[in-house]
Symmetry: C2
Subunit: 360 residues, 2 copies
């Protein structure tokens, strides 16, 4: 497989087709697994990692869940291409360093993938559009079972799956939802809500996971514990808390519409005006403008671009995506101009497709 | 005549049909005149002012230059209607106080008008689109000659026309051009240029004349002296200096296009995005956004609204214009919303008329 087989379009799980897509961009479940008899990645010799790559590739090729997928070897990719995969949420920063035999096995459609030789030998990931925790878990579990037919996982009857870092021992599972909470931010309730999320044992991160900054009012909420709870229990607990947050956010939106409708309309439409007509913009600005417009779409303002187009822009306007599209190295000012061009043509196309917006 | 006979559209001299309309919005010539045997306005009794009103009305009715015009009596108008006339540049703040018998005689098309019983008994005004000093002077001079057939002006062979304030004695003429100088502002040369204008004996004011703030990079440049120079000389001197300023501005625009084209495009198009999509805006913001877009039009950026639409917005979005359009009193937040609505529909119409812009 080469990178061209990954569509140059945005990832399909950003298509806003899933439930609650006005509030939740995506749901993700990842499972950490290691192979019996091979040291954990950071202790293993390169030839052991090469054999892990081979074993995972064969197992995935034999699994129906990964059909028409393929393996990308990190050390064979350019830094831009590795960054491109990070931007698509397929690869972590750790996997993308290119220094050791690491890989990404990715199924067509990008809903299922395996990072090979990240911190653990396997990091199996299922990604779904919108709020679909049960579905993402089922997808991951099914793929995991198929792989387990061909691979022998390190497992302890007492502890569960063994992982390089103790925080993942047990289920090895992390489930997360990427939630858009602009109204809680605007009504200044977000700190209180985030605090209560942490208090019930969940973690909050930004758009690009651990250590990433919160931008565009997008919060990734995930379970923290992998020991002492079944996968089912963790998923249900995250599901329950997420629904509560969605409820808070919806109430905050009602308050905004009641008390500050005019200001919100102005903010949303000006964001659209900037996104549609700006000639130079940073990716952070795109994310923030899309956040404001997303709120407008969710509030039912007619004539704005569809959520799908806004979700897609989050990924398509990232630096490596722009560089690959241009086919050459770009400096930051060039990228900012190309980014604005891309945004414009993307919104243009979205408008034609939906017949909306253009004369807003 | 009542106010409804003044079109609810913008003033025709804002139609950007005149020469150099990309740089000069309008040209104005006004003549201060007083009647023999009547004290100056601030010394006259009300019944004397009433007779001046009557005399001027009869004289204007008999003059071909003022055909299909009519007299509006300030004290018979509501404060909103008086403010409406100020916003149209037909009436000064002094004339609009409504306390004494004052009036405005205005010809259809608003190119010619007379303020009656302002500081002087007559303030005859000619307004032309674009840069047309000779034409505006000819228009005023011709109308003045017609009036002089019916009125006896206070005139001294030694000094010329006698006026209430010594600064107007002589020709009683003030000629001015309203120039748009965004590139001189952006390249930080404006202070130097304004200083040199003052040094050659001209005055610089804002959009609404004496004492008004400079907004939207619009500068009103006028002659100061009325004594010791003929009208012709004053007009020619203002013409010469204005052409020099236009030349500076054009050179500054060339520099901007050479050194900062990308930033200018971004600034211009974002201004258009805000103007086209904002849902609440102050009149100052409209003026500033129109200023940026004007620059883009002058630089040849395709897809922007025509200059005419931008000029018209300067007047149509003023508070009393909005209030008259709404037909009821408005508070500032209501006005800001109605202003944004008006801007949108005005740009919309301009786009349909020119077939431009909409999918910019």
């Amino acid at each position: 497989m080469d990178l061209e087989q990954l569509t140059r379009e945005a990832s399909p799980w950003l298509d806003a087709s899933g439930p609650h897509s006005d509030l939740v961009l995506s749901t993700r479940v990842r499972l950490a697994r290691n192979l019996v008899g091979v040291p954990f990645t950071h202790r293993a010799r390169d030839e052991q990692l090469v054999s892990v790559l081979g074993a995972v590739e064969r197992a995935a090729e034999g699994a129906a869940a990964f059909q028409r997928g393929g393996l990308l070897k990190m050390h064979e990719l350019t830094p831009i291409d590795r960054q491109f995969l990070v931007e698509r949420h397929l690869v972590s920063h750790e996997l993308s360093d290119g220094a050791r035999p690491r890989g990404l096995y990715v199924a067509t459609g990008e809903r299922l993938s395996i990072m090979v030789n990240e911190e653990d030998h396997l990091r199996l990931q299922a990604l779904c559009s919108g709020f679909q925790l049960a579905e993402a878990w089922a997808l991951a579990e099914h793929a995991d079972e198929e792989l387990e037919g061909a691979l022998e996982y390190a497992f302890s009857d007492e502890l569960g799956y063994l992982t390089a870092c103790p925080t993942n021992v047990g289920t090895g599972m992390r489930a997360s939802v990427l939630i858009h909470l602009p109204a809680l931010v605007l009504t200044k309730q977000i700190d209180k809500v985030l605090k209560s999320i942490v208090q019930v044992g969940l973690a909050v991160r930004g758009l690009y996971g651990e250590g990433s900054q919160v931008m565009g009012n997008l919060f990734q909420i995930s379970n923290q514990t992998t020991l002492g709870h079944s996968e089912q229990e963790s998923v249900e607990s995250l599901d329950r808390v997420s629904r509560q947050i969605l409820d808070y956010e919806e109430r905050a939106r009602d308050v905004l519409m009641r008390d500050a409708k005019g200001q919100i309309e102005d903010k949303v439409w000006r964001a659209y005006g900037s996104l549609r007509y700006g000639r130079s913009m940073t990716s952070e600005e795109v994310i923030n403008l899309c956040s404001a417009i997303r709120l407008g779409v969710a509030l039912g303002f007619a004539g704005l671009p569809p959520l799908k187009a806004l979700n897609e822009l989050l990924v398509l306007t990232q630096p490596a995506h722009l560089t690959r599209r241009a086919g050459r190295e770009l400096d930051a000012p060039e990228r900012n101009v190309l980014r604005a061009d891309l945004v414009r043509s993307h919104l243009e196309r979205a408008n034609y497709e939906t017949g909306e917006g253009s004369r807003g």
